[in-house]
Symmetry: C2
Subunit: 251 residues, 2 copies
């Protein structure tokens, strides 16, 4: 398996045809997986906004005041408003905003970025990243596309690449019913391949000014396995979300 | 960046010299990263046990009875005993056991595996996986080794590869103080490189009977970045752990 960044991509602007830009720069093969950072998908889709686009309501002002008091730094209530508008549920209000986005992904600040955003104050995640992945895929001679983001997680420090959208493949490789080296049924049943691809591509894309938002994964073999397309847990099957519903920051 | 499995590894047994087995099969370069599945590290370190090695105390019997009642399947209290002995804190007792292992990793059943284990009922994680990584590294002509496991996570379905030990490198690439394409300070500051390497190598290693527990990552460039060696969060900085402390399964 090989990974390489698509070279020489310019600053992406609203309306840019990402697929055309990628296919002009790389000699792609049908079985390549193209991983694209959500940052540039959002830029191409016009998801850049100014804080002024989000006049703060009372809820956002309350949240920002609390976060400001906790951090000792003033927080712009319009940013909290943007997060609220992107979200269907607030999992944590303090000491930071953890929400479920409209498309099911759980992340801090609804994944809204303030870095690598030249034309505005805020870059929102794509509205429906799997549809974005499908549109990009239609413009490429490859079968599989993943839209990635970088985000943190419980239990472990730091951030890593995750998939927020995918097309042309299942989200997970399903080992259910398969057996291990000794004929016993497997403990691990569902391997989140799109997340592992996103993590791998993040090693090449980086987080900074590298200018490498698109990464080609070549010779990744899915193998003879079933697939599953569930990636985001519902609260019913997510005990951590249930626990967070009853929890209150008191620090 | 390129990844490939170390070919033709046999069934690993207690006392096997994993480093020698890898270096005999691959022409390694100093800047390769060798990722090794904890399964085989554990086998080599004699971490295979029988259920009979863990006579259940009252706590384990209570836990197993509860889990049995929830699942409608009898649960062996000796398995719960093994999990307790591997753990320093129980984060969840039901509907499954989520614990912090002695070396700081949070996982279901303390990472104890029942698949790919021919000689006993249970395979425990290495006792100190970063020391295991260091020992393997000393026997290899490479600078960097990662010990991986597969585990699940909140918010997202499925499992993915994570690092549980590492040697010869920092756990994370620290982008703090660096700037984005527009000179703004970066939003993402600490990229968990060892987890991203583990996830990437898992795509190649698989979860089944592939017999490919060791994966070489070639031409991964760290770049000019600082590093951090914190991977496992303390409860003080982990709000999800705090929330779980006050939560009780009632399903
Ligand atoms: N060529 C190019 N690279 C970009 C652009 N925006 C971001 N990048 C690069 O894309 C990669 C990922 O950026 P990041 O902000 O971490 O994206 P995210 O993980 O999707 O939030 C980095 O190498 C950035 O330098 C752009 O408009 N053009
Ligand atoms: N050659 C060889 N491969 C093994 C052995 N044990 C497990 N594997 C392989 O190692 C890979 C990872 O196995 P898995 O059970 O998922 O390990 P874990 O992720 O560390 O729990 C799979 O390809 C297994 O077939 C062994 O003793 N010898
Ligand atoms: Mn982002
Ligand atoms: Mn990123
Ligand atoms: Mn395991
Ligand atoms: Mn595994």
């Amino acid at each position: 398996m090989e990974l390489f960044a698509v070279p020489d991509l310019p600053e992406i602007r609203e309306g840019d045809d990402l697929a055309a830009m990628v296919r002009d720069r790389v000699d792609l093969r049908a079985d390549d997986v193209v991983c694209v950072a959500s940052t540039v998908v959002s830029k191409a889709e016009g998801r850049t906004f100014d804080l002024g686009d989000f006049p703060a309501g009372p809820r956002a002002r309350e949240i920002a005041a609390r976060l400001g008091a906790i951090s000792g730094e003033e927080k712009d209530p319009r940013f909290a408003q943007a997060v609220l508008e992107e979200s269907t549920e607030l999992l944590m209000e303090a000491p930071f905003l953890l929400t479920e986005t409209r498309f099911g992904h759980v992340g801090v600040n609804a994944g809204i970025d303030r870095s690598n955003v030249p034309d505005g104050d805020l870059l929102l995640l794509p509205e429906r990243p799997s549809e974005s992945a499908e549109r990009i895929r239609e413009g490429l001679p490859v079968d599989r596309v993943v839209v990635t983001d970088t985000c943190g997680r419980p239990f472990r420090h730091g951030q890593r690449g995750v998939a927020i959208g995918w097309a042309g493949m299942h989200a997970s490789r399903d080992w259910r019913g398969e057996t291990d080296r000794d004929g016993r049924e497997l403990g691990v049943t569902v391997e989140s391949v799109v997340d592992e691809l996103a993590a791998a591509s993040n090693l090449v894309a980086g987080e900074g000014d590298g200018g490498t938002p698109a990464v080609v994964v070549r010779d990744f073999e899915w193998g003879e396995h079933g697939g599953s397309d569930e990636l985001f847990r519902d609260v019913g099957g997510d005990f951590v979300r249930q626990a967070l519903r009853g929890w209150e920051f008191d620090g």
